[in-house]
């Protein structure tokens, strides 16, 4: 018999992938411990800020309209990643996503049709009733019912790995370091997007002006420990998913409410008062993810979305009030942009707007001519006060660097797959999502690979147990 302090499965992390793994292992009878770095009130990693997961389905369901085939899902993935994906793993995720809603519901998760403002996702994405924190509450409650040990404020600071085998994790709890031993381990501790030092190594001083949209606890400790222990990396180490968010957002954990949906309705200028990119290139949901990088490349990593009264009510309200003024020059003074330049930029823009029929629901024919850069859709003159400005900064959602895994979620070490180390969620999402993003796919990867990792960790642990029991009997 195992001594009581030895778990069959230790899960490092406390978000969606971690809990899916813990539940998959515990429903098969494994004794599981979850080590969550955050305190209970902030548990759940970035999953607490999510709201849906993408899943294929062949016919309409109670929460999804029409159908979303395996091939279509795959095509979407290949398109956004530009082929930077392990197609075998990607297809596994897509296929398994079909069963995800039913499986989630078994653990008490409640799903709903898409929210009112997100009808474009009603066919592809299953929404969590109440959002990601409600989802995590359901998972934690299910884990507690099943007797999973959950430890909060548990900071993993070391991993003991010998000959490709995990033996124990060094965990700091209440300032004291303890060893947590387990027969298998699931790494589900996210990326490194909230590690400001690490971001600075890649982006230099500009990183000081980045805002982190999610949890402050994703500092990449476990990722770094694994890479140092010889895990093969996957995904571009210098890439992160960055969107333009309201510059007044908190440094961490601003989540969904800090996003701004008005970019395509007006113009965007940098601190010099100059435009720098086509604001109307495509529908906002298809373009919002490039604006983080665009703003990051501007001086002081700041930009301003400027709209006039015609745009009010056409976009999801932001949590921060607009900076409003009766004229462009007054607005310039309020946002500390040279008034002459901004006025000239707006004048040039207004003069370049061609007549057209405005339609925000379509790629309309309202565009500019003769500007560098032009605005190719939804270009309307900025001429109706009050004028509104929203300051923009890069908001980092997640990082792409991760550990390489195989179809059984086993972590690839330099000498071959690890015997008892599995990974799920953001820490391995780079296998499937080498770059780009499509709404809800991060949660799909976490849910599917969480289940695989939990199951495989249990399988490894139980064969290990029967082997040691056999040894014991033989001895």
């Amino acid at each position: 018999m195992a001594p009581p302090e030895v778990y069959e499965v230790a899960v490092l992390g406390g978000g969606n992938a971690a809990l899916c793994a813990a539940l998959a292992a515990s429903e098969r009878g494994a004794r599981v411990i979850v080590l969550e770095r955050a305190p209970r009130v902030f548990r759940g990693g970035n999953s607490r800020h999510t709201r849906n997961l993408r899943c294929m389905h062949t016919a309409p369901t109670d929460i999804l309209t029409e159908s979303y085939s395996e091939d279509e899902f795959m095509t979407d993935l290949l398109r956004v990643t530009g082929g930077m994906t392990n197609e075998t793993l990607a297809r596994m995720v897509v296929r398994a996503s079909a069963d995800a809603p039913a499986r989630m519901r078994r653990f008490g998760v409640r799903l709903q049709p898409s929210l009112r403002g997100t009808l474009h996702l009603s066919r592809t994405n299953a929404f969590f009733l109440g959002g990601g924190k409600a989802l995590m509450n359901s998972y934690y409650a299910a884990a507690e019912r099943r007797g999973v040990d959950v430890v909060y404020d548990a900071d993993v600071v070391g991993l003991q790995i010998h000959d490709g085998r995990f033996e124990s994790a060094t965990v700091r709890i209440d300032g004291r370091e303890q060893q947590v031993r387990a027969r298998s381990v699931v790494l589900a501790a996210g990326g490194f997007e909230s590690n400001l030092e690490w971001l600075k190594e890649i982006w230099g001083e500009a990183a000081d002006n980045f805002l982190i949209r999610g949890t402050p606890y994703n500092t990449g400790t476990v990722l770094k420990l694994m890479l140092d222990a010889g895990a093969e990396p996957v995904g571009d180490p210098a890439q992160c998913h960055a969107v333009a968010i309201d510059a007044r957002a908190p440094k961490f954990d601003g989540g969904i409410v800090t996003r701004l949906d008005c970019v395509s309705l007006g113009i965007v200028v940098n601190r010099h008062g100059d435009r720098f990119y086509d604001e109307g290139e495509d529908f906002w949901p298809k373009r919002y993810a490039i604006w983080g990088r665009l703003v990051a490349q501007q001086p002081d990593q700041i930009a301003y979305s400027i709209i006039d009264a015609k745009a009010v009510g056409r976009f999801m309200p932001s949590v921060f009030p607009p900076i409003a003024a009766a004229s462009i020059r007054e607005l310039a003074a309020l946002i500390d942009v040279p008034a002459g330049t901004l006025a000239a930029t707006v004048e040039r823009f207004n003069g370049a707007v061609r007549p057209g029929t405005f339609d925000h629901e379509a790629l309309d024919d309202c565009r500019t001519e003769g500007l560098v850069p032009n605005k190719t859709h939804w270009a309307q003159r900025l001429d109706t006060p009050p004028f509104w400005a929203y300051p923009l900064r890069p908001g980092i959602t997640f990082t792409y660097l991760g550990v390489k895994v195989d179809e059984r979620a086993r972590v690839a070490l330099r000498g071959g797959p690890a015997a008892n180390i599995f990974a799920a969620g953001e820490i391995m999402a780079g296998n499937i999502l080498g770059k780009g993003y499509v709404a809800g796919v991060g949660m799909t990867i976490g849910t599917v690979f969480g289940e695989i990792a939990g199951r495989e960790a249990w399988r490894g642990a139980s064969s290990d147990t029967s082997a040691s029991q056999a040894e014991h009997r033989a001895g």
């Binding site: 800020h49 409640r110 109440g130 509450n137 908190p250 969904i256």
Partner: protein
């Protein structure tokens, strides 16, 4: 700009505006309840808007537990608690007469004063008998009054006409105060940008009545709302049903008895199998079970869900309902006993105090919730 009926915004109103601004940019809670659906119809929130949304809120807790911005997050979003505080302010703002508004802040004092007044009024009403009984000395009359000969004849303790006068006056006062309060509140949440008083008024009212009578929004998603994180039990809803329908049945019992007396000339006491007694007994039992259940649920409840000003309204009102019912049932059971007059005076004291405090306590939540539900149905059907 919309006209804003309350010029100075209270802390709770300002906090509500902040919270609705954050919620409106998030919208994850949209499917939980009408609060968030009504919120999404607005871009900014006047004091009337937040008062309306606050009174739509049934204080379940789903949105707090689901909230990524709940305290200790710096946004500090706790809609159930903030709205529970704002509701009390909306009760005060609509109170008639206005000088009675502070009663909401001292619910136990209010109840105690009303009870003392009720006891005095009942005792004095009973005393009229002694005064009229000129042939007897005071002490002898008192002895006679308090040790009647077991006839269950309530009107020998307090004459029927006097009882009608007393309760008629208190009842009319309560109804007037509640109606004025309703009208003031409805005016404060009126929203000229949304067709309020036009369109399918009746349809809205019918649907809203169903929402209120079934407590639809405490179990709108196929199961009951949470009463603590991830625990969904039906008890809060059922105990409320016991209380509310118990109250209605008792009211019906009194109404039937009045019809018996006035129309048919059948004078109380009525048989145990008569309609007034059956209605009163069943309703009375509901008013024993419901308030006790709600008090027990309150004790267990997460303090993060309800502001203390709102929470403190519950116990006095529930205690009054319970004691009114208890004394009524005791009176019924022991009406043949010689000490019936004392029981009657006690029961009437509770009934008087209950009715006179209706417009200044927890009872009004039902009035304003109903007004908010009607507005919601009108908004969504027009």
């Amino acid at each position: 700009m919309r006209a804003d009926p309350i010029p100075v915004l209270t802390d709770a109103a300002v906090k509500s505006q902040h919270e609705m601004t954050v919620c409106n940019a998030c919208r994850y809670c949209e499917a939980y309840c009408p609060v968030f659906q009504a919120m999404e119809e607005r871009l900014t929130f006047t004091s009337g808007d937040v008062a309306y949304l606050a009174n739509l809120c049934h204080n379940c807790g789903e949105c707090l537990y689901a909230c990524q911005y709940a305290p200790p997050h710096e946004f500090g979003i706790d809609v159930p608690k903030t709205f529970s505080a704002l509701r009390v302010e909306s009760y005060e703002a609509a109170a008639w007469p206005a000088f009675a508004a502070p009663a909401f802040r001292r619910p136990w004092t209010t109840t105690a004063v009303a009870l003392a007044a009720g006891a005095l009024a009942s005792a004095l009403a009973a005393r009229t008998l002694w005064v009229r009984d000129e042939s007897a000395a005071f002490s002898a009359a008192a002895a006679r009054t308090f040790q009647l000969r077991g006839t269950a004849d309530f009107y020998s303790v307090i004459p029927h006409d006097l009882m009608v006068m007393l309760f008629g006056a208190v009842g009319v006062f309560a109804v007037v105060a509640l109606v004025v309060g309703y009208r003031r509140f409805a005016r404060s949440i009126a929203d000229p940008t949304i067709a309020d008083l036009e369109g399918p008024r009746r349809a809205g009212i019918g649907a809203a009545a169903r929402d209120a009578l079934t407590l639809k929004h405490l179990h709108a998603n196929g199961e009951d709302c949470v009463d603590a994180e991830e625990t969904r039990r039906p008890w809060r809803r059922w105990m409320h049903h016991c209380t509310f329908y118990g109250f209605l049945l008792c009211f019906a019992s009194t109404s039937v008895a009045a019809i018996y007396h006035v129309v048919f000339g059948w004078v109380a006491p009525y048989a145990y199998t008569s309609l007034p007694v059956v209605l009163g007994t069943v309703g009375g039992l509901g008013l024993l079970v419901g308030p006790v259940g709600l008090l027990l649920i309150d004790r267990r409840r997460d303090h993060a869900l309800t502001h203390s000003t709102q929470a403190s309204l519950d116990a006095p009102f529930l205690a009054m309902l319970f004691l009114t019912s208890l004394t009524g049932l005791l009176l019924l059971a022991l009406r043949e006993k010689t000490f019936m007059p004392s029981l009657l005076i006690g029961h009437l004291a509770f009934v008087l105090a209950l009715f006179v405090t209706l417009p200044y306590g927890k009872f009004v939540h039902g009035i304003y919730r109903a007004a908010a539900l009607v507005k919601f149905r009108k908004e969504t059907t027009s």
